[in-house]
Symmetry: C2
Subunit: 223 residues, 2 copies
């Protein structure tokens, strides 16, 4: 006997709730990875950087678990219209999150390359960028769970701040390098860290765009 639409809907609601809990768990790990990576940069704590590197596997595992859950949900409950879009959006979000986790990992690896050499400048803008980016990650997930378009839009507005900070950091580091070529290697590492943070913010913006599409059915470019 086939299960009724009503039954399928009940199972769908339960399953999507479980998947969303896992999504929040994955998002929490990504936020933590960013925070830890930047803390380890500021304090040049290479052990903490190592932790970020080791914890990335858990993020990747969660991605696979959620992906399998989404596919199983589509295959067994055959959600329609908006419900299907909700699962599809989740499938895309976890790819963005996984990529963010990879950037946190790249930051941690770069910190290990910097090692214990004294920092060429006190870090102010990079930690600021990291804080904004971390908030964007959190808000992008919230906007999905609550299907909150205005939160998605306001979250994405921070992307401009991040881009501006990145450009400023870029210019400043180039100047430092030109004045003192001995700073070049570390300055290049810091440039990449700034770029990785900027990318994480781009992925949060992606999520915001997908949330808007989910809720309104319209493609909107938030960049």
């Amino acid at each position: 006997m086939e299960t009724s639409h009503q039954d399928k809907k009940i199972v769908y609601v339960k399953k999507i709730g479980e998947l969303q809990n896992k999504l929040l768990q994955m998002g929490g790990l990504v936020e933590e990875a960013i925070a830890r990576a930047i803390d380890s940069l500021k304090s040049q704590d290479l052990e903490m950087a190592e932790k970020v590197i080791n914890n990335d596997d858990r993020i990747d595992e969660l991605e696979l678990e959620i992906e399998e859950g989404c596919l199983a949900l589509i295959a067994t409950q055959q959600p329609m219209a908006k419900d299907l879009r909700k699962v599809a959006t989740l499938l895309k979000m976890i790819m963005d999150l996984e990529r963010m986790g990879d950037y946190a990992l790249d930051i941690a690896k770069t910190i290990k390359n910097i090692g214990n050499q004294p920092l060429i400048k006190p870090l102010v803008d990079i930690p600021r960028m990291a804080r904004i980016t971390q908030l964007m990650v959190k808000e992008s997930l919230d906007s999905y769970i609550k299907e909150d378009v205005s939160l998605a839009v306001s979250m994405a507005q921070h992307d401009d701040e991040v881009d501006m900070l990145h450009k400023q950091i870029f210019r400043e580091l180039l100047t430092i390098m030109m004045e003192n070529p001995r700073t070049i290697t570390q300055a290049t590492h810091l440039l990449f860290i700034s770029r990785y943070l900027e990318r994480i913010a781009d992925h949060a913006t992606n999520i915001g765009e997908n949330v808007i599409f989910l809720v309104t059915g319209e493609r909107k470019d938030l960049n």
Copy 2:
């Protein structure tokens, strides 16, 4: 009256074929974008770089068309098991391809930043990296269409070459910068171009991993 499983299968085969044609079209555009970006770097042809920038919209449009086609296919034909995985893999691949297109766009923008200033060195390794990367993009798509695991594996082996070239370029550019601080700005741009190419190769490797999962059901780390 409900359509039979047989009918659904026929529609599925037709639709997935159409989507795969679009995928090949999207892949062709990405390959072309990489090739053109590097040509425009070698010849410092800023108009060609501009073309790469303008053509990125078409890549993004194709991503959306394929995505919508995949979701419609899942919703209307409810493919099961392997057929569902085939559509899910396609959904993931187009995200990788779109990202590769973005990196080609980033390369083109960076070339515009370099502008008409004479190149600080004759470019050999970057074009070599670009050629390998372009081949990886092509082979990753072929491995999906043909469900060819051994092609996916051999394609991903090129990723090591790309990584090695990137490291070599990195070291060389750092040396040039240290010897002559006036080269710093351009050398930094070239560093980023090398990094973008390396990332494109990573995304091709991702596609290879997804193909292996599609065919064998096993997660294999090709990095």
